[in-house]
């Protein structure tokens, strides 16, 4: 049975994600409406697809009148990086999750990162991960609905400032974990440099592939780093 402590631990980790999702979801809802989706369809996509960047792209493609098959393929390509994340997560979630189908639905860039870094800590279990994921999911769905209905009321300056929210969250997760794991710090730096280089060299390159390539290559380089006995992993 999941204890109240584990749930609370998960909710605390989920709060910054929910906060970061809200403005992005509102923006998505607004764009979906502008692209001609009904509030129901706009929210429905968030509820059933739940894949941030892919939804932005799908809305643009729908507005441009592109075929559905092409939209689905693009979503698959952009989101295939979550295959890597689930693979990594399914190994660190111990004890084995009782509801893998549910947990898998909760895997996003943000819950993966927050979850992976917290799973090493005391009291953060797969139940905590689930609680965190549910909070993030609700924020995404509710934000999409709010954006579809009232998005046009939000001042542009506030909306664009809120766009930094998720990056601030990634930074806040990364910085403290670097102090504990110097190899992780090196890998994160390599990956960032690689992603930046790919972006500068091939601006049209799909973001999903950029993240996949940088992740695979930088992590592989991490294997070459010397291991000391006192370090974990």
């Amino acid at each position: 049975m999941a204890g109240a402590m584990e749930i609370r631990r998960g909710l605390r980790a989920g709060l910054p994600i929910a906060l970061g999702y809200l403005p992005v979801a509102v923006t998505y809802g607004l764009l979906a409406r502008q692209a001609g989706l009904s509030p129901l369809a706009a929210t429905g996509m968030s509820v059933f697809v739940y894949a941030g960047a892919s939804q932005f792209m799908a809305v643009k493609m729908l507005a441009a009148g592109l075929p559905v098959t092409q939209i689905i393929l693009a979503a698959f390509i952009l989101n295939f990086r979550h295959f890597l994340m689930s693979a990594s997560l399914s190994r660190s979630l111990k004890p084995a999750p009782p509801r893998p189908a549910l947990l898998a639905y909760g895997v996003t860039d943000e819950t993966f990162v927050a979850g992976s870094l917290s799973l090493g800590e005391e009291g953060f279990t797969s139940a905590s991960f689930l609680a965190m994921a549910v909070l993030a999911y609700l924020s995404w769905a509710a934000g999409s609905l709010a954006g579809a209905l009232f998005g046009a009321l939000i001042p542009a300056s506030l909306a664009s400032a809120m766009g930094v929210g998720l990056y601030a969250m990634f930074t806040a997760l990364l910085v403290p974990s670097l102090k504990k794991n110097w190899r992780g710090a090196v890998v994160a730096g390599w990956s960032a440099a690689l992603a930046l280089g790919l972006w500068l060299a091939f601006p049209g390159f799909a973001e999903g592939w950029r993240i996949i390539l940088a992740t695979l290559a930088a992590s592989a380089c991490g294997l070459a780093l010397p291991r000391r006995r006192e370090d974990r992993g």
């Binding site: 559905v68 295959f83 664009s160 400032a161 809120m162 930074t171 440099a193």
Partner: protein, 99 residues
């Protein structure tokens, strides 16, 4: 039409997330692969922050990078992620107003 797209996208994004959870129980991965997977969170973070943060806000152009530095500095002082997110949004909002 739109609901067909939603259904298709739902499967296309969910199945890759689900597959490792189902397969992972059947296969034991070799040790080097496990160590490789352990680096993924760090690598993903690096590739998510850069270059994304550089283009997170439209104007001024240096604001994304400045907010990243602000968030990193604040993260050295506190481990409260929610606080860092809220403060960074506030920082970006103020700088946009001033410049």
């Amino acid at each position: 039409m739109i609901w067909l797209a939603i259904l298709g996208m739902s499967l296309a994004t969910y199945l890759p997330r689900l597959a490792p959870f189902l397969l992972g129980r059947r296969f034991a991965l070799p040790q080097p692969v496990c160590r490789w997977l352990e680096f993924f969170p760090f690598a993903v973070l690096g590739a998510l922050i850069v270059p994304g943060i550089l283009t997170a806000t439209p104007e001024p152009r240096w604001l994304g990078a400045a907010t990243g530095l602000f968030a990193a500095g604040l993260s050295l002082l506190t481990r409260n992620v929610t606080l860092v997110v809220a403060a960074s949004i506030g920082f970006a909002y103020l700088v946009q107003r001033l410049f």
